[in-house]
């Protein structure tokens, strides 16, 4: 790339003003944690300390749930059209502040600005717009003539799409008349706190949205609190299991959106160039920190060589580095802990006999948490890297000979969140999609999202659906 090396094109940090410390957002105002505990949040790309946030304990969880309970009465009594006004206002504020929020998200999470700017922010706003539209039409949603809200929702979200997951959770809850206590992930709390400010800016009544920062113990307190009527969780299968145990036998309703090990199936008549793009987008989007990432490539044996050559050539052009550079394709791994897990599983892949390949052109920054985009060939179903969720930029390549074998291998996983099919033959798309046990099946594309499209899993990928009309159900007594 010597002839045409792209000069650095960093997005300005000046558009976002990060305070040195943040409190908890309870009952419409920021306040310190009852026990005055705090913890720092860092930029994973530089390990620079960005701010410190309050660590919510049991007393704070209780205060937040009480505030949400108090707000629930008047909020749920509002006509749907009135609630919609607030949601529309929030959606517009997200759009107006999208540049600021995109930079913030890239700083705190490590994801490339290109993705936070072009995916996270437009999608987050779209979710609020979409559910604003439902708020006054709930009786036409197919859940009876007068569906009622559930009450107070306790929501725990992950670090991979902090603001977008917040939107997925908060928008349908508010549209249906519930109030919310939300806990963002420990490593990415900032955009939720900026969202709290947006709620104030939108004039949202006190207590309707409460944000508690903290770690897993805060989440556990929230989930176990008796004042919660509904728990919504997105994150790891392991934590999901613990939550299910806590909630079992109570009156609480539960939806879980957990891990995945999606198969991306490429048949020999696929549009090769676009399939390569889809594979890259499927596994390297957001550094592979995507629960529906296409982490298992199932390629028909007859085109294996051609496809892998094309894929490697394409991977050589991926630009890894500063998340705020507008030309960066792959940013930083979110935390040291996650990086260690990716390294451990990649080492296991090598030990089990799979062939590890990384682009020669890839130079990683010396500071921060980084992992080069990685391809494993000759992976077998029995390898750990074909079974366990890596949650990083690591693709395992397996092969198949017939459509039946492709379906059998694709379904042979404890997970079932998403899958992809690449073929020019429409009838094959329909017949294979029908046999795949996955919540979302993409055909000739991957990682496409829309607020109107329900999302959720089978098996260890969880239960319940978010997005679309189906996403309303979890927040309504139907």
């Amino acid at each position: 790339m010597s002839i045409f090396a792209y000069a650095p094109a960093p997005e300005s940090r000046a558009v976002v003003d990060i305070a040195p410390s943040y409190g908890l957002f309870i009952d419409g105002e920021f306040r310190p944690a009852a026990e005055d505990k705090v913890f720092p949040t860092h930029s994973p790309a530089t390990e620079e300390r960005l701010s410190e946030v309050a660590h919510a304990g049991a007393a704070d969880v209780d205060a937040a749930v009480r505030a949400a309970r108090t707000a629930f009465g008047p909020w749920s009594a509002l006509p749907g059209a009135e609630r919609a006004k607030y949601l529309f206002r929030i959606a517009r504020l997200i759009q107006e502040r999208s540049r600021e929020l995109a930079v913030l998200e890239s700083l705190d999470n490590g994801k490339p600005i290109r993705e936070s700017r072009d995916t996270d922010l437009p999608q987050a706003a779209a979710h609020f717009f979409y559910y604003a539209g439902w708020a006054d039409k709930l009786r036409y949603a197919g859940f009876g003539p007068d569906p009622r809200p559930v009450g107070v929702a306790g929501q725990v979200i992950p670090w991979n799409f902090p603001l977008l997951m917040l939107a997925w959770k908060v928008a349908p809850a508010l549209a249906t008349g519930n109030t919310v206590v939300l806990k963002p992930a420990e490593t990415t709390p900032l955009s939720a706190l900026f969202f709290a400010d947006i709620c104030r800016q939108a004039g949202l009544p006190r207590g309707v949205v409460n944000i508690l920062t903290g770690d897993g113990s805060t989440g556990a307190e929230l989930v176990a609190h008796p004042g919660i009527d509904k728990v919504a969780f997105t994150g790891s299968t392991e934590v999901g299991r613990a939550i299910a145990r806590t909630v079992a036998g109570t009156h609480k309703r539960l939806t879980l959106e957990l891990g995945g090990k999606a198969a991306n199936i490429v048949f020999d008549d696929a549009p090769i160039d676009q399939a390569v793009e889809g594979i890259v987008n499927g596994i390297f989007f957001n550094q592979g920190h995507v629960c529906c990432a296409g982490s298992r490539l199932l390629v028909q044996e007859s085109i294996q060589e051609e496809l892998l050559d094309a894929l490697k050539r394409r991977m050589e052009t991926l630009r890894v580095g500063d998340p705020l550079d507008k030309n960066t394709d792959i940013g930083a791994i979110n935390s040291a802990e996650q990086l260690a897990r990716i390294r451990e599983l990649a080492a296991a892949g090598e030990a089990e006999g799979a062939g590890r390949w990384q682009p020669a052109s890839c130079e990683l920054p010396s500071q921060g948490y980084w992992f080069a985009p990685t391809l494993f060939t000759e992976v077998q179903q029995s390898h750990r890297i074909a079974r366990e969720e890596i949650f990083g930029p690591v693709l395992s390549v397996l092969t198949f000979r017939t459509p039946e074998e492709a379906v059998a291998k694709a379904n042979n996983t404890p997970y079932g969140l998403s899958a992809g099919i690449w073929t020019e033959k429409g009838s094959r798309i329909l017949s294979v999609a029908d046999k795949l046990r996955a919540g979302v099946v993409w055909a000739n594309t991957f990682n496409k999202f829309d607020p109107a499209s329900p999302f959720g899993g089978y098996k260890e990928s969880g239960f319940g659906r978010e997005g679309g009309r189906h996403g309303l159900e979890a927040y309504l007594n139907v």
Partner: protein, 316 residues
Amino acid sequence: MPPTAPAALADVTASDAALRRHLHGLPGVDTVGLEARAATLGTRSIKTTAKAEAIDLAISMIDLTTLEGADTPGKVRSLCAKGARPEPSDPSAPQVAAICVYPDMVNIAKEALAGTPLKVASVATAFPAGRAALPVKLADTRDAVAAGADEVDMVIDRGAFLSGRYLKVFEEITAVREAAGPAHLKVILENGELSTYDNIRRASWLAMLAGADFIKTSTGKVSVNATLPNTLLMLEAVRDFRAATGRQIGVKPAGGIRTTKDAIKYLVLVNETAGPDWLSPDWFRLGASSLLNDLLMQRQKLATGRYSGPDYVTVD
């Protein structure tokens, strides 16, 4: 002159049926995916030093073009002067690659460019419709070459292509290839009339098999000319063709490329699709008439920090 069909693919042009099998056996193109990829590459942010390099590279790749019924020798001479010295006040500005004119203007251009390294390109073969008998097209080509054209831009018979007579198109290109003699042959696919991306990929391969030195998006005379997706597709085709045969073919998007921003997007496509090997006027050209002035204004802006305005570049 290069061999018409590379040895590795010699038998695919043996008959209409074999050619059809080959062209229809190429991987399909998914419209949504192709357009999404082109749009993503279009968001690359090319700044400061990279932008300065890109502007000069783009200038050096221009086929500065006038293809009007109203062209006069005076108009052509003035365009030649502009191409040879785009920036009167700054000799460090590169020259364009070629001046592209109708065949009857080739001798004028040739004379005006004597002593410069600029090439003269001529559109021949009953440009732009291509609706003439083969002997007429060949005569048109020989005329242009006899007048001194270094490069011939031919149009394919879209009617024959769309009705599936691939071998006819193939034979016509090989005939023109022969008539063009030493001149470089650029084959214009007229993507806007081929209408589907699958057709554009097939036409690209057909032209390359028939001995094209360059494949070119369009005549600039129809409503859809060069676009990022169709150029991306053609770059994929030349990349794959080199991998299959060892022969490198150039690409020329033409028509509708007017701004520096657009030109840079094309360079990004080249860089990230075919690869840096194509980033030279030998392998990539921009067919344009008004693009040069915008590039020059942006060049001045980078040099001085201020926008100058249209009176600080020449009107030709």
